[in-house]
Symmetry: C2
Subunit: 104 residues, 2 copies
Amino acid sequence: MSIGRWAPLSHPDVESVDIDDVLRALADPTRRQIMRLLMTGGDRACGTFGLPVAASTLSHHFRTLRNAGILRQYDDGRQRMNTLRLDELETRFPGLVRTVLDAG
Amino acid sequence: MSIGRWAPLSHPDVESVDIDDVLRALADPTRRQIMRLLMTGGDRACGTFGLPVAASTLSHHFRTLRNAGILRQYDDGRQRMNTLRLDELETRFPGLVRTVLDAG
């Protein structure tokens, strides 16, 4: 249940996801690590990734991934949760996410 | 045979090619079109791509692709030629180039 602490979240429809945005979003090791953690561990709250970056930087990474259409965010009580849009991306760009995450 | 009109070209060794550089270089439709033309038509001189962009812009795209380790340039007489480093990239990042070019 959302407590309305945040502005409404916007997510691009899968049809309007842009390959250039996706590639630029993928071109960062911290963002790829976020994606790997979501792939292996399922949905996860923003504060629980345990990555060695400042909260504001992490917030920027989540926003970049969300705006590119790579992950979806939703509020669960006081927590902002993250989930990968893997099935949608797989439909749009088959094999892309896994190939990139395997690459490094 | 080079006539020495240009500065010496530098190309990163395949071992030092960086996935972030590669993804950023791939995140542009003109650069992906350059790669497709090289994949299907083989080595090609800079002036023969027939793309609707200014020469200076095209030159920037070639340089971005070369610096990222995606293509190799060499001089042949008065022509600067371009060749994809597909086998090297395939060794480093299996499936990446083809998956991205198939994506859009």
